[in-house]
Amino acid sequence: MQIRHVLAALPRHKLVCLLVVFEIAVAFAILCNAVFIINQRVQQMRIDTGITEDRLIFVRTDGVGADANAPLITRNLLALRGLAGVKSAVAMFGLPLENMSINFKPWLTADMKIRAPSVGMVAGTPGYLDTLGLTVVQGRGFTDADYDGVDQTSKPLSPVVIVPRELAERLWPGQNPIGQKIWRSPTRSYTVIGVVQRMVRGYLREDFVPGYTALFAIKPVAAYSGLYVMRVDPQDRERLVRESAELLMRLDPDMLINAKGSYADARADYFRQDASLAWLLLAVCVAMLLVTAMGIAGLANFWVQQRRRQIGIRRALGATRRDILHYFQTENFLIVSGGIVLGVLLTFALNLLLTMHYELPRLPIVYLPVGALALWLIGQAAVLGPALRASAVPPVVATRSV
């Protein structure tokens, strides 16, 4: 009954109604896509690196320079392990999300015919798996005999490698990965001796799978002497970052320290850009919904003023306050619903545009009902004030001329 009244009256404001429908449609499309992008970034920022992040600190230096200085690395590691609270210390390359990575595409056969997707290189001195908190879930870990130097092109000489489960399943689906081989050049192959649950590479790119890494065993060598990683208790992190940097500076006053901190800081740094984009999108969404709500409220207010006489007549003819209230609420519901219907089309169009330009996945359908619910609620909240004012119009208005 109510809906028929509302529908009958709507064409009297055809243009304004269409405008509001369009506005809601655009807002809906932007809202759904923006929330989707925010969610994507948040998912990215939540990535599991596979290491025990809260127990790690690092100091990044300029390294020891020439190969002849490699014994200095061992000296530095011994000294770092001597600090009270340092459980273990290693020199390594390829800490997850450190904003740099060496990537390679290994071959899976000796004739170099089958090539794997890009893999991030991780390498460290004895004990680095334990320091990072990586546990071997299949096969074995590195033994002291496995650690060796690097060749002229900085590839590890040690012929063994450990891979994360994700990579093992991709390269040898349904097979036992232990004993499988990968080639980094025709003459340099590595045999898989173990599998770890997960390890993420140093730098994420859209075309790289984050969890595809290969872990190598190296002795202290000049080529990978820049990054010291230590395992400590969470409460000691701040103190030990300071003390370990001071210690290294004391051991070698010419050493340059490029960066230091807890792993948590490094990780936050890595995602700072994503975080700021997410906040910006959120701010725009909130502003947009606010503007839309104020627009709806302003317009509804206008219509109430314009229809005072009609409201009065309806009241005089027996309509209750509740009827008038429902009338405006139903009207708003219908307009917003129209906007949502058009908005669904716009949302898909916008998502298509974004997937073409920004390598964004398809928008999951679940965003549509959630977005619709949000706009319905906002519409109802915006119209409530004007609708209450309308229901307060006394019937006597009908008898007065303007």
Partner: protein, 435 residues
Amino acid sequence: MFSYYLDLALRSLRRNKALTALMVVAIALGIGASMTTLTVLHVLSGDPLPGKSAQLYYAQVDPQDIKGMQPNKEPPDQVTLIDGLNLLHAGRADHQALMSGGSVPVQPEQSSLDPFYVEARYTTADFFAMFDAPFLYGHGWTAADGEAKARAVVIARSLNDKLFGGANSVGRTLRMAGTSFRVVGVLDSWQPNPHFYDLNTGSYAYGEQVFLPLQTMLELRLDRNGSTDCWGNGGGGVGSILPSDSCVWLQFWAQLDSPAKAAAYKEFLVHYSQDQKALGRFERAPNVRLRNVMQWLDYQMVVPDDVRLQNGLAFGFLLVCLVNTVGLMLAKFMRRAGELGVRRALGASRRALFAQLLIESGVVGLVGGFGGLLLALFGLWLVRQRPSAYAALAHLDLSMLFTTFVLAVCATLLAGLLPAWRACQIAPTLQLKSN
């Protein structure tokens, strides 16, 4: 007439303050958001060397082995050392430079300063003339100096201020990476944005402090930054190990003063590739590219995706704000049908009414635009607080200031057009009768 309409507009706007405020705020928010992001986009997609960029070309050849070859695939983004040196020594362009980036430790003579790292550019003699780098003191090194692996260095003004107190330091000695270099020149403040000649080291707000001859760097094996792509047996590039000949890690730029010369140079690159294939070094059919600065920046998609995304979103928001304003304005004008009817009946033409209503919407646009400008200034301040490298560049220039106002007034006039036209449509008698 204009002042009368203006007076009418102000009266009408004052009559319904909340509604007017709503329209102004909506416009201001939309303009503020879109101008903030547009300014960032404008700054980031600017021409780093206006007037010169069209003559500077980036050369690409394809030295990769036959494995993984696909038709129409782009050649590598950089060149190998051997190809770079070959092109350099061929000397077919008006100017040419081969370069790569890195960082070197500076060991100041003053004991009060600790050693520190500076960003370095390893390049060849023509670099400074090609890129119009302004010298404060001295000049660059000569090609002969370069070939002789001279221990010569050109330093940036900021480093000169730090080490030599801003004095003319030409002829002074600078110790870097355990070697003594002679300062031959000091550059005045110079930081092209984007950092077009090498995008691997960061695209924005990146400036080298020292410039060294490439040949000297090769001899001393100084540290390199940037990207290295290898194929086949290629590798290296860590620490003091130079990348092998099947790795690309250098940039080659050529200055070609006319389009005819550029065409001839491209031809030369094809011939060069054919020669190298005949020699057995190249395995693929000639696959060359020669892009000028703006084409290169475009191809490299140097403007971050996030910035484009933000800009698109902000303009979507502006659209919502404008539609909102159209709706409110329409409702408002229609409600004044009676008043407009009286004016029509008293002899005002439709055109006069239309002008009056447009002035009213123009006023809203102007005030909204001003609010938007303030919001944009605030927004840019916020952007500058962000951690990205380009953040510091986000400033409103004169052209963007002008654009803001044009955008605001045009947007609101456009928004006022439909409501004004609608309000002028109905016959005066009807409007008088309706109440």
